[in-house]
Amino acid sequence: MSRITNKLKIRAIIAVFIFFVFGFSLDIGRLFWLQVINGEEYKAKAEQQQLSDTIINANRGTIYDSSMSILAQSASAWLVYINPSKVKDDEQSELIKNGLSEILGVSEEKIETALSHKNYGYEKIKGQIEYNDKQEVSTFINENDLYGIVNIDPDTKRYYPYANFASTVLGFTGSEDMGRSGLELKYNDTLTGIAGRVITAKNARSGSMPNEFETTFDPEQGTSLVLTIENAIQYSLEKGLMQAVIDNNATSAYGIVMDVETGAILGMSTKPDYDLNLPNTLTDKTLIKRIEAIADESERAKQYNNALFALWRNKAISDTYEPGSVFKVITLSAALDSGAVTPSFSYTCRGSIKVAGNTIRCHRAGGHGTQNLETGLVNSCNPFFVTIGQTTGSKEFYKYFEAFGFSEKSGIDLPAEAAPVPNVTFYTGDRLGIAELSSCSFGQTFQVSAIQMITAVSAIANGGHLMTPYLVKSMLDNEGNTIYNAVPREKRQAISKSTSDTVISMMEQVVERGTGKNAYIAGYRVAGKTGTSEKLTKDNEFIASFVGFAPANDPKIAVLIVIDEPQVYNHGGGAIAAPVANEVLEQSLRYLNIEPVYTDEELAKLSATAPSVSGIAVKDAKNTVQNKGFTARVVGNGEKVIAQSPTGGSTLPKNGVIILYTESGKTSTTGTIPDLKGLSISEVNRTAVNAGFNIRISGSTLDGEVRSYRQSIAPSTKAELGAIITVYFKTNSGVEDF
């Protein structure tokens, strides 16, 4: 009986076992399917549903100039967006439109358009909002119970403290803090950094769970850049270029200052330009008026965009131009280095030269007569250089054309550098026929970029080494540690040291007595070359340029100034570009603490320092002033000098006037600033002194034929007697090169 029971039991157990196994096998199989076969897929879905993933934006790296002044920096900001699908009714819609428009300064039409997209849950209203505005929006949301309808998200904003300073070099960022032009674009990956994340578990109501489930991946901040740009040099370059555009009513002007030994860019600018904080805003009122006058809306938008693109363009690297006579220094270097000519080579210019049936004229009607190499360069004689080019030959000429880097990009670390196109922007060796060779010899019928030109001239200045120009000096991590230092890179030796020395001495003569006189700076030896070229793409439009470096005996910096389409009668490079180079070079050399060394002749012309005579008797004061070579003018009847203008220590030309005030209450007398334009130095000094003012001479003082062309205080302005007016001088005589 028990045996039977056991058997029954066993059978029952087996039956149950089979039942359970069969029953659960389905579940087990299903589990296997879910967890093993499709495990990854469901895991991903679960993570998506159960985990909250918040991105922590990394701060974009900062951009500094050479002396660690901040040129570009990012900070946290906020973004306001609306959820149109949750808007209850028109009343709420109107409330949102009016409220946000008032707080954020966004047009009501834009908000209305966003609100009309009822099927959408996200419509951006405005980004890069600062804290104060964000607080106002928060208050607006709280007061009007607009949670979930009007929302605020984190954002970032890029600040450029100096507005349009180095604008075409720095570039700007667009949405999501991504670089769109300039260094911001070129080094976008370096500056961006890596975003962090905070992963938390979500409960059923999508709220975050306690921090046990939280994992944080810290963001990796972007790398910062330290540029080679020198603040003071960049500023003087920008100021000079802007003034050149105004003075000459030019379309644009651009320039570069380069360290000749390393290729480091100390300054680069294009004018007119734009405010980096408002890259999508035009400020030229005339241009805006012209665009707004266009009837067709799409055409108006297109013209507006074209105008913006023109402002953003870094012409110093992106535009090509006919170099004109500036290129003659390259032709000369090629001829000397190849041995085709020697310094004693001579040619007689009779005013023109025939090449392949065409006549190439000299800018001097009767010709320059017999010239050697130096004189030919000083006179910038076209027939002379046609002969030089032909003597050198196409093969050698092209060899040096390539050696100086004109057939390739310079390699500067900026985007959108113009790429030379063979037989479009320049002639290859096999296409250099006699006519092409002749015109290329004096810088016409081909195009180069400004960065190529200054890099090549720097090679002449530094003993023949063609360097790769660069802007980024070093990179810093988020703790300020240097993680990269730029090393100057030499591309090749373009010419020999001896050729370089010879050409430098000739270029110095161009400034001493040739077309580059307006680049002369007392106390410094400046070498340079002027250029005036006719534009191939536009009739009767010119480009005036000057390239120079200093000190010629030990070159440190090179400057290239290009003025595009000047609308003045004297539009030569010597007349309008060299004076700009003069100002930039003078400021730059002083900033770099390069001491001037004056010749005796220069010393004699230097201005004197006003003596300090306050507090002494009028008679003694007058004697002191006159002994120093100045004129004294007494105001009042007192016995002692109680104040003077200009103050002791000021510089003014010899024979300047010092006003001596002898009565209290009469320590300032005003006069009217005279018009000092178009006068010689002595005439300016005399006119100013007679009116009771003093002058400070700026610009070229080399030539006795220099004339004033600008003054720092406008004529007819009221100013204190004794005030010093800075007067700029240049010569238009003997500087023509076209």
């Binding site: 900070a75 900001a77 306690p210 939280e214 500023y235 002083r590 004056y598 720092s712």
Partner: protein, 179 residues
């Protein structure tokens, strides 16, 4: 047991009543336990009582231990919960402070930008020239000092020796006031 006929569905013999012989005590006068039995019983009762007390005390000890253990467990749980709550609170505080820091940093950048734009080279130069009537120094007014020799160390107690030429010495000799 009756034989089990496998052909039948049930073995009915299994359901036959089993006569269990029981010992039946006659009903009568209950006999008093012997005297010795009373003593034994009392002793037994005392012992039983003792055992009961001991058992009780043991139970009490066990209950006490269990209570202590429970209290400890609850306390630990409470401590854990409290620390978690504090941790959560501190995390929230940290998050809030980090947010405030981010806002302060953003404001610092904004204000520094505004400050830098106010003291840009352009503004400084314009103010110096237009408002203060200043002009740039001439190049010849700047004195350059050659520092290329590098730093020097002068030990204390040593007199600096300055070489003077004859002209300088004579000027000092006849200078008024005396030097």
């Amino acid at each position: 047991m009756a034989g089990y006929n496998r052909a039948e569905a049930y073995d009915l013999s299994l359901f036959e009543e089993q006569i269990v012989k029981q010992k039946i005590e006659p009903i009568g006068i209950k006999k008093a336990p012997p005297k010795n039995e009373n003593k034994k019983t009392a002793a037994k009762m005392t012992a039983a009582k003792s055992r009961t007390n001991a058992a009780y005390r043991q139970k009490l000890r066990r209950a006490f231990k269990a209570s202590v253990f429970a209290v400890l467990c609850l306390s630990s749980l409470a401590v854990i919960l409290l620390s978690r709550a504090q941790s959560d609170e501190m995390t929230r505080e940290i998050a809030q402070l980090e947010n405030e820091l981010k806002i302060a940093q953003a404001e610092t950048v904004r204000l520094n930008t505004a400050l830098n734009s106010l003291i840009s080279m352009d503004r400084v130069e314009t103010y110096a020239e237009d408002e203060l009537g200043m002009v740039k120094a001439e190049n010849h007014q700047i004195t350059y000092i050659n520092m290329s020799k590098g730093d020097m160390i002068v030990l204390s107690g040593q007199k600096a020796v300055i070489k003077k030429d004859l002209t300088t010495r004579l000027k000092e000799l006849f200078a008024y006031p005396p030097q």
